[in-house]
């Protein structure tokens, strides 16, 4: 493996993935506005471009050009640092996500930025750092709504991270590895039947993961940190223009990451639901089809995100904490016990 | 490996764990208004069962379990019995001292039981990792217990001081382990000695050992690492102080003994002077500090520093006698200290009504029983004959003198002379006539659990003072589990009779 090839391909991969991710973020926003609009029986954005498809661009330009307000009372270094942390963490975690089959060019993986043994842990690690963005923004704003939002979000993140991490243990147990590719490979044998959600009997874990992940990304019904009705805009009340946009982008980037992880861990990643029923279509198509499968599954999760937002009301704060600690956590632990018993005594599929 | 045997080697720990879990399970099920006393009794019976289990462990053959992580031998079982006993008495004391309505009684007893698990593991663990975790379990549970009296301002203060300095010490302890591991490539206490023999990095091991000793010196509150002790004792609830001034210390001493004698016998020449100095400073600073205290608990805190010093004297002796003396002293000190804190926590109550020495004026008039018990324990602390404290000091200094460390013994004895001053102040206070306004007049009657606790402590102190043979033999067997001590010099009393000239001729 030539070092220079490695460097070149890596830089290219990063550029492409970042571009796709940011575009996806933009269009997820649009998707959300559209879908929620339809759920609420209205049109959503439809003026800019055909079907409002250029709306994200317009929004971006607007946010970029707006005056960058810096309130006097804020604690400046952290105020500026916070959105950067949030966005950086959101974008970093995609680095270990494999989104296509294991195909190498000049000895370098094509369909992921980095394939490391402990990919799952890296994702957890990076997302767990992401909380600082929110916490610090709330604190440095020197505003009680912001602070409350930040406090809520840190508490919420810490509580739900536990359930989230535990829900993944079953998957790891089945694969016997923390490498995301291995995890997907385990699920790839019999198509949808061997996906963790079905074949791995991880359906409970799947729902725990989904719930906890919604809370992790501060999405409805767990969007307490930015609950408009009680906290104005929560932790980013004092933010405007590009800094606000960074928070916004990080939230959606996180959604995408979460969806990717859910896909990888529970829905068999890039593997086709039909497994080996589909014949091979030649090397090029064999490389492209998995990516399409992957994108489709991620899209499904994003849709569910928006769907849930349009459907469910928000929790009360104590309910949220109680739910996390008293319901999700015990179930997650029970799931681990059952899974390990099952893996220990019954032959896994 | 025999499966049932494996479990038996950690039987007392298991019993304490189960007790703690049971308490935690029962506590929320009980109605809010219900009296939490039964939980206390649960802890008492748990401790009793653990005590029995520890005694039972004497019948096990020496050996290790769980891949050589724990070892039951005469040494660890000796300390198992001691610690279980302390927990038993402390639970009895806490039973009535803590008001059942106002405090989280269930949590208190659960913490006591769980903390005991850590202490027991410290004594039987031969893997430093396990020792470290045991140390943390016992430390963290005592940090919490120290801050349990949240309504007062002093209790959280004592908890935070204890916590910060304790964690600081933990970091040193841990760094010491890291360096030892670096030098020897193992964290198994039994293997370190062999590792040391072949290491290229002896200086690293020496510094590691120094750090381990510093860390443990903090835990046993030996000077100059004692600064936390008075504050913590003053602020923490009295029934807890009785516990935390004895059981974790005994465990830490056990660890220190094991590490010094089993892991680092080759470095004797390094740790001996270090412990010598620590012992001398502890005795002196402890006693001088105690002299100017007005608060009884602070005074006892300084006295416990001094007692740690006496105990360390025996450490430096490098013989089975010394280790036996140290173990014996640990027992004697634990019993009398638990006893005196039983009196204090009953007289002062959970709210610490009686803080100053003056407040104890007339205790013997108000309640001859409490006053008498207090006098008895104070006399034992002074080291009056026919009490455990006397034999403890006696063995310590006898072994020191036998090892030729007359100066250390003299420092110790001068110190125990100084100590008389402040113990006597309490004693005379208890035996002077109370005024009509003395707070001591509100001291409640002794309750059954307290009577039981006092009976146990007094009788054990007396047994230690009148017929210490069995316990000393236990301590000696314990000492001889260390390979370097097992076949050392013949015991002190070669023959009860005229000594031979050869024996007399080896002079210092």
């Amino acid at each position: 493996m030539n070092f220079w090839w490695f460097l070149l391909i890596s830089v290219l991969k990063i550029a492409v993935v970042l571009f796709i991710l940011l575009t996806a973020v933009a269009y997820t926003v649009l998707l959300e506005r559209k879908v929620v609009g339809r759920i609420q029986n209205r049109w959503g954005p439809s003026r800019v471009g055909p079907f409002g498809l250029l709306q994200p661009l317009a929004d971006g330009i607007k946010l970029f050009l707006k005056e960058d307000l810096l309130p006097t009372a804020v604690y400046k270094p952290l105020y500026i640092l916070a959105p950067c942390i949030a966005l950086a963490c959101a974008l970093t975690s995609i680095a270990v996500v494999p989104f296509g089959a294991d195909i190498k060019f000049k000895g370098v993986d094509l369909f992921d930025i980095a394939n490391i043994n402990i990919g799952l842990l890296v994702i957890l690690a990076v997302t767990s750092v992401g909380v600082y963005g929110i916490a610090l923004s709330g604190w440095s704003s020197n505003n009680k709504y912001s602070l409350l939002g930040a406090l809520r979000s840190s508490a919420q993140l810490v509580s739900y991270e536990l359930a989230l991490g535990l829900s993944l243990v079953g998957v790891v147990l089945r694969a016997g590895s923390l490498n995301l590719r291995t995890i997907v490979d385990v699920q790839a044998t019999h198509g949808a039947l061997s996906w963790n959600i079905f074949g791995g009997f991880q359906i409970v874990a799947f729902f725990i993961y989904l719930t906890a992940a919604y809370a992790e990304t501060n999405r409805t019904p767990f969007d307490l940190p930015e609950a408009e009705s009680e906290l104005t805009a929560g932790y980013h009340t004092e933010y405007s223009s590009m800094k606000f946009a960074m928070f916004f982008m990080s939230e959606y980037a996180n959604m995408i990451t979460v969806s990717c992880v859910a896909t990888l861990l529970f829905l068999g990643g890039w593997s086709s639901p039909l497994g080996h029923l589909l014949p091979s279509f030649g090397p090029i198509l064999d490389a492209i089809f998995p990516v399409l499968w992957f994108v489709a599954k991620v899209f499904f999760f994003l849709f569910v995100y928006i769907w849930v937002r349009g459907t469910l009301p928000r929790f009360r704060y104590d309910q949220l904490m109680g739910f996390g600690w008293k319901v999700l956590l015990p179930i997650a632990i029970a799931n681990i016990v059952v899974t390990s018993l099952w893996l220990g005594f019954v032959k896994p599929l | 490996m025999n499966g049932s045997m494996t479990v038996l080697r950690i039987l007392p720990e298991i019993i304490f764990t189960i007790t703690g879990v049971l308490i935690m399970l029962v506590d929320p099920v009980m109605p809010r208004e219900a009296n939490r006393k039964p939980l206390g009794w649960l802890a008492v019976f748990g401790a009793l069962a653990a005590l029995v289990a520890s005694l039972y462990q004497y019948s096990l053959p020496d050996g290790t379990a769980y891949f050589g992580v724990v070892q039951t031998d005469a040494f660890s079982v000796f300390f198992h019995v001691l610690i279980s006993g302390i927990i038993l008495v402390s639970a009895l004391v806490a039973l009535d001292a803590v008001h059942p309505d106002t405090e989280n009684l269930g949590e208190l007893f659960a913490l006591i039981s769980f903390g005991a698990v850590g202490m027991l593991l410290m004594t039987s663990g031969v893997e430093l990792l396990l020792v470290f975790i045991g140390l943390e379990i016992s430390s963290i549970s005592t940090y919490i217990l120290a801050g349990f009296r949240r309504k007062t301002a002093k209790s959280p203060e004592s908890a935070i001081k204890y916590f910060l300095l304790g964690s600081f010490a933990t970091a040193f302890f841990l760094y010491g382990i890291a360096l030892t591991y670096g030098a020897t490539g193992t964290t198994r206490i039994t293997d370190i000695a062999t590792g040391l023999a072949t290491t290229h990095d002896l200086p690293i091991a020496v510094v590691g050992l120094a750090f381990i000793i510093i860390g443990l010196a903090f835990k046993v509150s030996a000077a100059p690492f004692h600064l936390w002790t008075p504050d913590v004792y003053e602020g923490a609830p009295s029934p807890i102080v009785g516990l935390m001034s004895t059981a974790p210390k005994a465990a830490a001493f056990a660890v220190l003994l094991r590490i010094a004698y089993e892991a680092f016998p080759q470095l004797q020449s390094h740790w001996m002077p270090l412990l010598w100095i620590i012992a001398a400073i502890s005795m002196t600073l402890g006693n001088l500090g105690a002299l100017r205290q007005k608060n009884v608990k602070r005074m006892l805190a300084y006295s416990s520093i001094a007692h740690a010093g006496y105990l360390l004297v025996a450490f430096t002796v490098l013989s089975a006698d010394g280790v036996a003396a140290a173990s014996f002293y640990a027992v004697a000190y634990a019993v009398m200290n638990v006893g005196i804190f039983a009196v204090i926590s009953h007289a002062g109550g959970y709210e610490d009504r009686l803080t100053l020495i003056e407040d104890y004026k007339g205790l013997a008039y108000r309640s001859p029983l409490l006053g008498g018990a207090m006098a008895f324990f104070l006399l034992s602390l002074i080291g009056i004959p026919f009490t455990g404290g006397f034999f403890g000091k006696f063995y310590v200094f006898a072994s020191a003198i036998h090892a030729g460390m007359i100066w250390l013994a003299i420092i110790g004895l001068i110190n125990s002379g100084i100590a008389v001053f402040y113990y006597l102040r309490v004693l005379t206070a208890a035996y002077t006539k109370p005024l009509d306004t003395s707070p001591v007049l509100n001291v409640p009657r002794a309750s059954f659990p307290l009577l039981l606790a006092l009976f146990l402590t007094v009788s054990v102190t007396l047994i230690l003072g009148i017929a210490p043979d069995r316990i000393l033999k236990g301590a000696r067997n314990a000492a001889e589990t260390f390979p370097i001590l097992s076949s050392q010099q013949p015991p002190l009393n070669a023959t009860p009779g005229a000594p031979s000239m050869a024996e007399l001729s080896h002079k210092p």
Binding site: - | F163, A171, G182
Partner: protein, 104 residues
């Protein structure tokens, strides 16, 4: 190739800074943080030594030690911060110099 001693010296630097911070800082939370710094320094030397011994006899219990230290640190943090909160409720201050109801 990096000498292992470099890592050890780095850990010594961090540990010493931790000790210094423990002694110098006045805010209880910061003091607690300096303890965490010390623990991290210890962890670094554990990992470095683990690498060394792994080369010699494939024995890497240093790494496992680090794992346990992290668990312990987490437990300690939970308890320590709870104590700090209790203290703040009782005393309305986080300065160690004002936490002085009891004098040494």
């Amino acid at each position: 190739m990096v000498p292992i001693a470099y890592y050890l010296i780095l850990s010594a630097i961090l540990f010493s800074i931790g000790v210094g911070a423990f002694l110098i800082k006045r805010n209880i939370i910061t003091i607690f943080m300096s303890i965490e710094l010390m623990l991290n320094a210890v962890n670094l030397s554990f990992v470095a030594f683990a690498n060394y011994w792994n080369q010699i006899n494939h024995q890497f219990s240093g790494q496992i030690f680090v794992f346990f230290v992290m668990v312990v640190a987490a437990a300690e943090a939970a308890v320590g911060l709870a104590i700090i909160i209790a203290l703040f409720r009782a005393r309305k201050t986080l300065n160690v110099d004002q936490v002085d109801l009891m004098k040494l």
